[in-house]
């Protein structure tokens, strides 16, 4: 404090003055410029942080857009399941509270399904949904494909009945006059005139269909289907409904509206009211439509429990189904059940991937450690030559190295030939060293070896050789000197190498695919299959998510047991 008192004589404020001032005034501590110290410090730090952030911003943005967001999106697919509720909105709503054990659902559900399928078939979405649901229950793919072909005929009899009575029903214009808002008709005519004038290359969409007042209340089913009809026509063909005959299901809906509410024509005026009154009379003479029977006719499997149980179990927007499948389980209406024993494969594959990656890591340590030691202890000139030998395979194409192992290891391959020539193995009992786990471990150890040697080398390089000499001069045997003095100092290198090798190995796919046969393939081979062949991206994403989670858990375990500070990639 004496020094500080002396400084007090200096003119102008100093940090000490500020502190003293603060002490005296019992107020906030002030910085040299008189602002509170805390604020001043915080703003200086903030400025620094912003500058740092701006400096790394390009990299951060790049990584966000090319790495984190796409991976996040891919992983998100593992739970996404909107396809069912988007393709079959009415059916999913009608299925609410359905219990698949009580047999096929009510006619109402089939009526909803018919309407959904007509729209889906027009948009060609039904087959997509079929192949999605076929991942869960075999046979749904063709069931949906067939239904897509069959549904446009549903209601044909009603179309014929109305058209037979009055040909006007065949005309798109009749429907427009009956249902459309006048403003829309004007807009549509104008659009048609523009199309006529423009000729080829006209790509303006017709105006969105608008119903006249009160029509939707009078004919709810008809207008609902007609709205879909107009919307599909607009987006798919760029056409206005004025010249198009509606789908059969619209006629069927009209019949149902008129049968349910014979007074509906009263809501209309003039010619339209007359037309509708006449239609109501025809409707009175028709039988109600049996939707269930129509689907039974398309395929009797539509009445099966399996189909409806699956649709019901997968009707929500998000599903645990893919994760269940990744764990050899199945999402059913009764909850998650194990799949049949002859279909369980993912558990085995995950376990195998882990164990074999561990085996590869261990053999990389066993082979890499002596090499790294040699590299670190030989004279520089020799070490450099050896280093090139280590790096050379590193620069060679992965495929070439893998194929080379094929040539070496196969039964008529180089190694077997030599063994036979030496008389160690008889010609008829050549060793099987490829297309099994052995082949995968050998090839992958070779491929991943540099990832073990390089971190080991860089750590060993920093261990002064004098330590070993000191240990020996104090009476340690070679082994004790190595084990008690040298080895503990090289552990961070082993740690770094092991993490690199293990994590790379766990995601490997090309090498196991080529040399792994059936028992040496990894989980990544299944992920690749689901991405490129079966197109079951949801399951691929779920498997990938689990693999990622497993790696993170192992990393956490490693941190707890060995400590991540104990990892060194370089001196």
């Amino acid at each position: 404090m004496t020094d500080a008192t002396a400084q007090d004589k200096i003119a102008g404020p100093t940090p000490d003055t500020a502190i003293r001032d603060a002490e005296r005034a019992d107020g906030p501590m002030l910085a040299a410029d008189g602002r509170p110290l805390k604020k001043s410090l915080a703003s200086a730090l903030r400025r620094q942080k912003i500058r740092a952030l701006l400096l790394i911003a390009p990299l951060l943005i790049f990584i966000m857009f090319t790495f984190i967001i796409p991976i996040g999106q891919m992983l998100f697919r593992s739970v996404e399941n909107q396809i069912v509720s988007e393709t079959l909105p009415r059916t999913v709503a009608a299925l609410d509270g359905y219990d698949s054990e009580s047999g096929p659902p009510s006619g109402e559900v089939f009526a909803a399904l018919t309407r959904d399928m007509v729209v889906a078939a027009e948009l060609k979405n039904h087959t997509r949904l079929g192949s999605r649901l076929n991942y869960e229950t075999t046979g749904l793919s063709s069931l949906f494909r067939q239904a897509g072909r069959g549904v446009d005929d549903i209601g044909e009899d009603y179309t014929d009945a109305f058209v037979d009575a009055n040909e006007a029903w065949e005309e798109g214009e009749t429907w427009v006059r009956l249902l459309a808002n006048e403003g829309w008709i004007v807009a549509s005519d104008e659009w048609a005139a523009r199309e006529e004038a423009a000729g080829r290359g006209f790509d303006e969409l017709p105006p969105r269909f608008v119903f006249a007042d009160g029509v939707e209340e009078a004919l709810p089913r008809t207008t609902e289907m007609y709205a879909d009809f107009a919307a599909v026509l607009r987006t798919e063909d760029g056409d206005s409904p004025v010249d198009e005959e509606p789908w059969n299901i619209v006629y069927l809906s009209l019949y149902e509206d008129l049968a349910a509410n014979p007074d509906a024509p009263a809501a209309f005026e003039g010619a339209e009211a007359e037309l509708l009154a006449e239609a109501a009379e025809i409707a009175a003479g028709l039988e109600p439509f049996d939707y269930t029977a129509a689907f039974e006719e398309i395929d009797e499997d539509w009445l099966g429990e399996d189909v409806w149980g699956t649709i019901d179990a997968f009707s929500s927007d998000y599903t645990a189904g893919y994760f269940a499948a990744s764990a050899d389980r199945k999402l059913t209406p009764d909850g998650i059940q194990p799949v049949d024993e002859d279909q369980r494969v993912y558990g085995t594959l995950f376990l195998r991937t882990m164990l074999m990656s561990l085996g590869i890591t261990v053999s990389c340590i066993a082979l890499g450690y002596p090499v790294a030691w040699l590299l670190a202890n030989l004279p520089l000139r020799t070490a450099n030559v050896l280093m090139i030998l280590v790096l050379l395979p590193f620069w060679t194409s992965l495929l070439v190295r893998t194929s080379a192992w094929k040539v070496l290891l196969q039964q008529q391959g180089v190694i077997n030939d030599i063994l036979v020539w030496l008389g160690l193995v008889s010609d008829s009992n050549r060793l099987i060293m490829i297309n099994n786990q052995f082949g995968t471990i050998v090839a992958m150890t070779h491929i991943l070896l540099p990832f073990m040697i390089l971190p080991l080398y860089s750590v060993m390089k920093t261990i002064p050789p004098s330590y070993l000499r000191a240990a020996k001069s104090l009476g340690a045997t070679n082994w004790t000197a190595f084990w008690r003095v040298y080895f503990p100092q090289s552990v961070p290198g082993i740690g770094a190498g092991s993490i690199l090798v293990f994590i790379l190995a766990i995601g490997y796919y090309i090498t196991p695919e080529i040399v792994g046969g059936t028992k040496g393939v990894f989980i990544s081979n299944r992920i690749a299959y689901h991405i490129s062949t079966s197109l079951n991206w949801g399951l691929a994403a779920a498997l990938g998510t689990i693999l990622l989670a497993l790696v993170l858990v192992l990393y956490w375990l490693y941190d707890r047991i060995v400590g991540i500070d104990n990892v060194k990639l370089g001196g």
């Binding site: 060609k124 979405n125 087959t127 997509r128 079929g130 192949s131 076929n134 991942y135 075999t138 046979g139 749904l140 793919s141 063709s142 494909r145 799949v339 002859d342 279909q343 369980r344 494969v345 085995t348 594959l349 196969q410 039964q411 008529q412 391959g413 297309n435 695919e513 046969g517 059936t518 028992k519 299944r526 991405i531 490129s532 062949t533 079966s534 197109l535 079951n536 991206w537």
Partner: protein
Amino acid sequence: MKLTKILMASSALTLAGSVAFAESHAMESPVAGEPMADSMTLVSWGGAYQASQQKAYVEPYLEMNPDVTITWDESSAEAVAKLRAMNEADNLTWDLVDVVASDAIRLCDEGLAMEVDHDEVLAPAPDGTDASDDFGDLIVSDCFIPQIVYSTTVGYRTDAEGWTGTPEDICALWDLENFPGQRSLERRPIGNLEWALLCDGVAKEDIYDVLETEEGQDRAFAKLDEIKDNVVWWTAGADTPQLLADGEIVMGSTYNGRLFSLIVEQDQPVEMLWDAQVFDLDGWIIPEGLPEERLNRVMDFLWFATDTQRLADQSKYISYGPARDSSAPMVSMHAELGVDMAPHMPTDPANSENTFLYNYEWWADYRDDLDAKFQAWLAQ
């Protein structure tokens, strides 16, 4: 020297022939005269197959349309996944994609391939037969434009040791007593399960009915169990020919075109077992959502590339059968080897005494289920 001259002369003749044909070809493509893009990206399989397409119709087309540039992308093996990704990214870079029929069905189901009216976009046969009749049953999907018929069949080494007799039928695969040694089969259930049932005594016409039942599937897997320890499973078409050439295996399944080049071009001691060959198809699909000018170019090219003469020309370079009925009588010599191609075609009467037609729709349903079973079975 002499040979080169003959070859040059014959290829000049071919060229002259095809040019003459193009000139006399009165029917123009339906989009002729419309605005067209001047570049096009074709997707195919690479290798000998793509080369046959290049020589049979891409080069002649480019000669007729010198302003056009055609780029190849050898991505057919991943076409389905890539098209889906392009569709999601809304960035379609391909114009015409060569895929196998089952992929075409999948792409059509997914809404990623365009449905076409075959009579409208494809040229009729020279005698006026509509394209849809000329291609017949090979149009297995509304999106699929067939080009060739190929088959998966078995090749065996003629110098295998310890064999009694020569393999006569597909069941030789299971006959470890008379034909000992390693075999290779494709690492997927399709084809293998059918063969297993066939050799387990199921009549050809009942196979899919049997395979539909749990017992039938168990039966097929049990039959495969008999040879499981003697099988190397392949994933790439080149695997079996390589394994046969190395003597790693004594017999194995692969595409007939691969065996043709092994036997005829590389002169290896290998014979083909045409019995119970499984027919499959390969052809074009147009990706959904092409802009009009690019679509016009594709249509113009397709009209030319799938006509009777062009499909027959393709068989000069590779031993796959043309998909048009009208092309079959025009199949002639191999363009370079001078070998008569007809006896090497899977569709040749002598080879197709006993064939197996792959049931696409059935497999579209059962593929996911049986694949899971197959993988579990392999892992056991």
